[in-house]
């Protein structure tokens, strides 16, 4: 979904929220889905850096760490060729039981895609200041 102020991804994941959360903050878990090596300091203000592909690094800083419901961090690529430097984008991860999300009006889906498993992950990427925009 592209909302007025951000790019939003909403998905149902087949794992409890705590496990999903750790996939973002535990380097051994993180490298299983997003990078090949990771150096993370999962505390507010702590920095992280991970290698997405050989020689390509993403860097950022944790802003909010509220396990297992909310994680906010800044993010960007160190390679200027990507045109998105560390600190220029903000990512918010919100985790909620899938049942709650499914019953929320307008959330876009009505039944969990993974029956019996209960967590949902929403990530929002974009500058915090885009409000209701573009027209």
């Amino acid at each position: 979904v592209i909302d007025g102020d951000a790019v939003i991804h909403e998905l149902v994941l087949p794992a409890p929220a705590g496990r999903v959360f750790d996939m973002f903050t535990d380097p051994r878990q993180l490298v299983r889905w997003i990078g090949i090596s990771a150096d993370l300091q999962p505390r507010p203000g702590g920095r992280f850096r991970f290698e997405v592909a050989p020689g390509q690094f993403c860097e950022g800083q944790y802003v909010i760490i509220d396990r297992p419901v909310r994680l906010v961090f800044t993010w960007g690529w160190t390679d200027p060729g990507f045109g998105l430097a560390p600190g220029t984008s903000r990512v918010e991860v919100t985790l909620a039981p899938a049942a709650t999300m499914a019953s929320r009006p307008g959330s876009g889906w009505s039944t969990p895609a993974w029956p019996g498993i209960s967590d949902c992950c929403t990530t929002t990427a974009g500058p915090a200041s885009w409000a209701g925009w573009p027209p």
């Binding site: 790019v7 299983r32 220029t88 984008s89 990427a125 974009g126 573009p134």
Partner: protein, 108 residues
């Protein structure tokens, strides 16, 4: 401008007055005086903001007779969105696959 600079674009968009200018020039060309009037800005301030938008590749300018006409570059904004969308879209798909594999593995 040879390559899209997402960082410059995000910085340009961070200012609400510049977003307002892009809104005004979204569907049609606008002159600087029109933008200054609608945004309640002085002409020099308007020029300054237009320069930032132009350098970030978010607005195009065309000279007609003695007037400069500005128009938002929707394609650049789409590029910016795609940049943010693609990376996380594909990574989250990997995250889901990884979690699904983990759950399979945990089953007796």
């Amino acid at each position: 401008m040879t390559r899209f600079d997402g960082e410059a674009a995000l910085r340009a968009l961070a200012d609400p007055r510049r977003r307002r200018m892009l809104e005004l020039a979204w569907d049609r060309e606008c002159s600087p005086s029109e933008l200054a009037g609608s945004c309640q800005l002085s002409r020099p301030a308007t020029s300054q903001h237009l320069r930032v938008l132009r350098e970030a590749g978010l607005i195009s300018v065309r000279l007609e007779k003695n007037r400069r006409l500005y128009r938002a570059r929707a394609d650049r904004l789409a590029d910016l969105r795609a940049l943010l969308d693609e990376f996380w879209g594909s990574r989250l798909a990997s995250l889901r696959a990884e979690l699904a594999a983990g759950e399979e593995g945990n089953r007796p």
